[in-house]
Amino acid sequence: MHGITIQNVTKTYLTNGEHSVVKNLTLEIPMGTVFGFLGPNGAGKTSTIKMLVGLSRPTEGTISLLGGTPDDISVRARIGFMPESPAFYGYLTGKEFLEFIAKIFKQAHPNHHIEEILKSVDLGHAKNKQIRTYSKGMLQRLGLAQALINNPDILFLDEPLDGLDPLGRAEVKKIILALKEQGKTIFFNSHILADVEEICDVVGIIDKGVLVAHDTPQSLSIGHKDLEDAFVHIIEQSRKQYA
């Protein structure tokens, strides 16, 4: 089954002169893979994920998801996306927000499903509280919940562990690992390498818009203390090469 295919994708912005945030990116991610997309701040991770979910379009190149493109409604019905620091309608409760999302997916009887999802992200106790009262960790979990509401084939997560305390990170990691057990395809951005090493099957490293490494965490770590050490080395080498 088709997964994610990124073919020679470049994204260029014209503000303050021409500025490419993603340069000639090519990636093939089969279904059932948990793919970690790593890079320093400003490397192009979020720009890539935005193109994958249809929030922006590549200046050059093509993106294929599940045999279609991110613009296809039928494709978007089968993906889930959790943006970095997701923002919600603060006056709605958690349950109301998920009901709103469920309606967009035209779910006929969403209540039972919503209750299950809220329980799975440990928000059952807060479902009737307004979202503006939620903590950072609760917001992240709700972000994950809305991404799962349609039982997606592919899940895009942008910094899902960002800003969480150790307990919060542990909870979200547990959820992602459970999804991995279910065979979900997950594409996730992060710069917390220890977590990536723990969760991901394959890792891609991007720096200044260029893909500089693409392999399993174990392979990349050969000759290095750990993935973090390998990451720093790869980035330094890449910058020397492109300097």
Partner: protein, 256 residues
């Protein structure tokens, strides 16, 4: 498609009805409507006219306020606060979002209009002036059509500019839309071809909003005939369709 549009509309309605600025504006208008009783008392036997004029104008100002200021914030808020990031990747077409937002805000406008119109009727009832019910209902119906056009104009602008600029541009359209009386002499007796062309352009291409204004006539018991009302309704629907199309095209191209 209808289900999605209705979902967005319902959410927009819920969101805007809870807006404190809107509730404050509604409260102010209700106070003004009550205040018309005092204005009536100092007007020397023109009490019913004062209540009708000031009451319908207060309702109209509320509608314009909702359309221009709440409308300008509608898309901008979602872009700035990034709540759109949760919506756009869902199986929803961008034009469905535009239409849902426009319908939701129109529903909000209709609701606050209904509340303030009922308040006005209550005031008129104290004067025994029940003859104005139908003319006032017609007047607020037509001004709601005008508000719908202004909502779509502010949505068009709020998709790509700040709320302040969006509000300013919408106000310019509003003023131009009511400048027909001033433009007609320039068209009929032009001082130069350039002035005539510009005047005609503004008169015919920008929304001609004065046709939705019957507030000046209802106080004399004059209401437009059915043909006029139907033409106004068709004009509103077609102009709204044009604006919706423009908003959809600009929003479709927008990247985040």
């Amino acid at each position: 498609m209808l289900n999605t549009i209705f979902t967005i509309a319902q959410n927009t309605f819920r969101e805007t009805m809870r807006d404190r600025i809107l509730l404050a504006a509604l409260a102010v208008v209700l106070i003004i409507i009550a205040f018309t009783l005092f204005i009536a008392s100092i007007s020397i036997e023109q009490d019913v006219r004062m209540i009708v004029d000031f009451g319908t104008s207060a309702i109209y100002i509320l509608q314009i306020f909702v359309a221009i200021f709440i409308g300008s914030m509608l898309m901008y808020k979602e872009v700035e606060q990034k709540t759109f990031f949760l919506i756009l990747p869902k199986p929803i077409r961008r034009y469905e979002i535009i239409l849902g937002k426009a319908l939701g805000l129109t529903a909000t406008t209709f609701t606050v209009t209904l509340l303030s119109t009922l308040a006005l009727f209550a005031i008129l009832l104290t004067k025994g002036a029940t003859l104005f019910v139908v003319p006032i209902l017609l007047s607020v119906f037509l001004s709601t059509l005008e508000a719908m056009i202004l909502i779509l104009i502010s949505i068009v602008f709020s998709g790509f500019t700040s709320p302040i600029l969006s509000a300013i541009y919408t106000i310019v359209f509003f003023l131009a839309g009511h400048a027909g009386e001033s433009l007609r002499p320039l068209i009929m007796f032009p001082q130069s071809t350039v002035i005539e062309v510009v005047a005609r352009g503004i008169y015919y291409l920008l929304p001609n909003l004065e046709k939705f204004n019957i507030r000046n006539d209802i106080v004399f018991g004059d209401i437009p005939n059915a043909t006029s009302i139907i033409f106004s309704l068709l004009y509103a629907l077609f102009y709204a369709s044009l604006l919706f199309f423009v908003a959809s095209v600009t929003f479709k191209k927008k990247e985040f």
